[in-house]
């Protein structure tokens, strides 16, 4: 039961208030990009405890399984490098592309985006926060896969530190793609399907050694952003990596990341206000 009549509320009795009411009221503060991004990131990370951990195991086991399978076919050399690099980046594709596409697809379909859309938060903060969190989820699985692969195929671990660049950059590219797919797909099932397809493409085109693929498929491989992460990572297993090519490959990842995250932000804006 409401016990406060409108007439006795503060401000009602003052004629001055009416004059003020004629003008526009002061707006509440806007959430700035970085604090909002951090808040979204932190909230998304905490979801891992509830929902994501089993899926991280799935991603890691899948990649380790593929490497064990390939062990029988590939015996060292350039092909082994490609398999280990491809399997490691596959973890990123599974989580950042596939799972993020599903998350945004479901959020959009269920009306969950309304929550963010009615808060004064920059769209980029929501997209980047979620994408950053999903890219972070991939860290343990990617590292475990890379180390396991090195041991399995007898590759040097000296340059594994490059993962510190590969995960965020490939993560940005794939998470941006996943977020854009999830937010643009008209139905959540389609978002799931597109995420799965993207991951399958990353699996087939990333893990299988490139020079055994038909030419047409090689072109498709060049179009997939995860390829450049795989290439960059694969090169670092050599005794004297060509760092220029590594940096160039990572720059492609970064560029795709910027573009796809920008598209995802635009898609979020479009999905939030209909």
């Amino acid at each position: 039961m409401s016990v406060v009549p409108a007439e006795v509320l503060p401000g009602r009795a003052l004629p001055v208030e009416d004059a003020v009411a004629e003008q526009a009221a002061e707006l509440g503060p806007r959430a700035r990009l970085w604090p909002a991004l951090c808040a979204v990131y932190r909230a998304q990370l905490s979801r891992a405890r509830v929902a994501r951990i089993p899926l991280l195991f799935v991603a890691t086991f899948q990649s380790i399984g593929i490497m064990v399978l390939m062990r029988g076919v590939v015996d060292g050399g350039g092909e082994a490098r490609a398999v280990v690099a491809g399997s490691s980046v596959l973890v990123v594709a599974f989580v950042a592309l596939n799972l993020l596409a599903q998350y945004f697809g479901q959020l959009r379909a269920s009306g969950g985006l309304d929550h963010y859309a009615t808060l004064p938060v920059p769209p980029a903060a929501v997209v980047l926060g979620a994408a950053g969190a999903y890219a972070s989820f991939t860290v343990p699985g990617t590292v475990v896969t890379a180390v396991f692969g090195c041991v399995l195929f007898g590759l040097p671990m000296a340059h594994l530190w490059i993962l510190a660049a590969v995960i965020p950059l490939a993560g940005a590219a794939l998470a941006g793609l996943g977020a854009a797919l999830g937010l643009l797909a008209p139905r959540p099932e389609l978002a799931t399907l597109l995420g799965q397809l993207g991951m399958s493409a990353a699996l087939l085109l990333g893990v299988l050694p490139a020079d055994r693929l038909p030419t047409v498929v090689q072109y498709a491989r060049d179009l997939l952003p995860s390829t450049y992460g795989v290439e960059a990572f694969g090169l670092t297993f050599e005794a004297h990596p060509d760092w220029g090519v590594v940096v160039l490959d990572l720059a492609v990842c970064a560029g795709v990341g910027v573009v796809s995250l920008a598209i995802a932000t635009w898609a979020y804006r479009r999905a939030a206000v209909r």
Binding site: M1, E7, A31, G112, T118
Partner: protein, 371 residues
Amino acid sequence: MSQPRAPDGARAVPPAQIGTRDPVGSCLVSTRTAQAARQGHGGDVVCAVRDLTKTYPAVRGRRGAPGTPEVRATDGVRIDIRRGEIFGLLGPNGAGKSTLVRQLTGLMRPDRGSVDILGHDIVRHPERAARILAYLGQESTALDELTVSLAAETTGRLRGLDVRSARAERDTVLEELGLAALASRPLRKLSGGQRRLACFAAALVGERPLLVLDEPTAGMDPIARRAVWGAVDRRRAENGTTVLLVTHNVIEAETVLDRVAVMDQGRVIACDTPSGLKEQVAGEVRLELVWRERAPLDVPEVAALRDRAVESGRRWALRLAPEEARAAVAAVTGGAAFAALDDFTLATPSLEDVYLALGGSAGNVRGLVKA
């Protein structure tokens, strides 16, 4: 309740205005405005909606699925919500309440019309809505996997609070709503009512002058409901917070709302205080009869009532003039009919009856749950 009441004459709505195309007339003669006008307070209107119209385009049928015709979800809606009041939107499912709320919160652009909230044009600047109002939608999917504490804190931060004030407000609100014990539990592990209360808590962190609440108490037990209305009243008393409430629950509407707009098929068909609205059907009372097995139609008085009754199983509902009701009660409690009678209730009309009397399209009023 120390609310000064206007003489009844000030509140009564001329019957001619009921159900007319422009329901504003009925809005403007309600108690508060009549008083405000007398006291020289012009409008202290927080939210002014004018001619708001949104049409969903027709969907062409595909194989197996029939198409749907064009639907006017809101049709020339005009309402004024005044500072510090709890203004309700009442109506059956599909009446256009949610569409209206989505347009007020900047989530949807209307085809035509204007929304002015505290001097800001929300149609032209939908992004400003988020800085004036807090919205509690029906969905909690964005918060489901967070703990109660983090859901409230994150929402506060996204409303522009810094970490320290977001945490301070979070603690205050959780304490106020009795959620402190559940603070570390994820929302989706909670019961429906508790989850709803947690979402309400998130809506309160980061004070806003206008709260837009879409069925805030759905699924809640009485204790949680009381916590919600207590928190709302506190904010009204301290800050003059205004509340726009969407509800299906007629009982709650009658007890908490200052004014209510009854919506049907996208239009506001009436707008007044709950008691003012009920006066529109004051000439009638509601008689409910429950028969043991079936109605004794061999009794002539009972047979005569049948034409006017809304039957549902053993239960008959009738709207009658008081003297008719008296005669009907005498008939069913006196003679042969009494043996067949299980129970009866005689009540003054509720908002549900108002809705029916105003010619709401849904004759059986499925959406209006009389809980």
